[in-house]
């Protein structure tokens, strides 16, 4: 797997106020065979997987028939 940086956009975007985390610079991409995915998208996909697994395993309260929340 290789990581490649894209060139920054010709017009570097700047929102009216500068956010604490600037995602508007160079993009970062992962290459794996013919698959190319941006790091940002991998983070979203990983978040889906992690949330799914966490929801399955974290114990749910109220197993004795008391109020579910």
């Amino acid at each position: 797997m290789t990581i490649a940086l894209a060139a920054p956009p010709a017009t570097v975007p700047r929102p009216a106020f500068a956010p604490p985390v600037n995602l508007s610079g160079q993009g970062h991409y992962l290459h794996w065979g013919f698959v190319q995915v941006s790091v940002a998208n991998v983070v979203v996909i990983a978040a889906i997987a992690v949330a799914f697994v966490v929801a399955l395993f974290v114990p749910f309260p109220g197993s004795k028939g008391r109020d579910g929340r």
Binding site: P15, F17, I48
Partner: protein
């Protein structure tokens, strides 16, 4: 005549015959037989609903409402507002991230419902309306990207047109027509999604939460094995 006047207005009483009331009575009976109030808003739930995986439905719904609310704020000042205003740009950011959350939660909800085989027990339409809602949401997101009025919108428009033209849809749905895309995004598609999501939720309330799959080797499993 004055002895017929009343101080308070009485609730209208239905006619005594069960089939009376014409179309109105028939519709009322149909609605309240299908969806009595305690089924629409129950204050109990089946005891097997005991996993955090169940929260992704309501998270998807609340994320959708956030998308609609932030979109409504953007609509107040028009499509170009967020390019010229810091507040507008922040509202645009809220709209973008609520969409990312919506699609994320909905994906988890879809995967979970698959692994629960949640279509069992006359819940086919619940599954179908859910999948249709997913597809409509992706399409609505496309129209949203098309009305950003920036470089991304330009590129997506000229790329998406090729795909849609190839199947004849582009002859009637022009990704480069900002006016058409804006009205689809702000009016037509939110209406369609709202109807489908409302139908989906009413079906969940009507049928109840799907019971657990029977464990292999149990009597219940043997009874339902014919389904596979």
């Amino acid at each position: 005549m004055t002895d017929q006047l009343v101080d308070t207005t009485a609730r209208p009483e239905p006619l005594p015959e069960p089939e009376a009331g014409g179309w109105t009575g028939a519709l009322r009976r149909r609605i309240f037989d299908t969806m009595p109030p305690e089924r629409l808003l129950p204050d109990t739930q089946p005891s097997y609903v005991a996993s955090w995986i169940y929260v992704f439905g309501v998270l998807s719904l609340t994320a959708l409402l956030t998308v609609i609310a932030t979109g409504t704020i953007l609509a107040l000042k028009g499509a170009a507002w967020w390019h010229v205003s810091g507040t507008g740009h922040f509202v645009n950011s809220l709209h973008l991230w609520s969409v990312e959350l919506f699609m994320t939660f909905m994906s988890i909800h879809l995967i979970a419902k698959f692994f629960m085989a949640a279509w069992r027990g006359r819940r086919l339409m619940t599954w179908i309306t859910g999948v249709v809602a997913f597809g409509c949401s992706a399409f609505t997101a496309l129209t949203g990207y098309l009305v950003q009025q920036n470089f991304d919108a330009q590129w997506i428009a000229v790329q998406a047109k090729d795909g849609l033209n190839a199947i004849g849809v582009g002859a009637y749905f022009n990704t480069m027509d900002f006016g058409q895309m804006l009205i689809w995004h702000v009016a037509l598609l939110p209406l369609v999604i709202s109807v489908i999501v409302a139908w989906h939720i009413l079906l969940v309330r009507r049928r109840g939460v799907v019971p657990p799959l029977p464990l292999p080797g149990t009597e219940a499993q043997r009874e339902t094995e014919a389904q596979a």
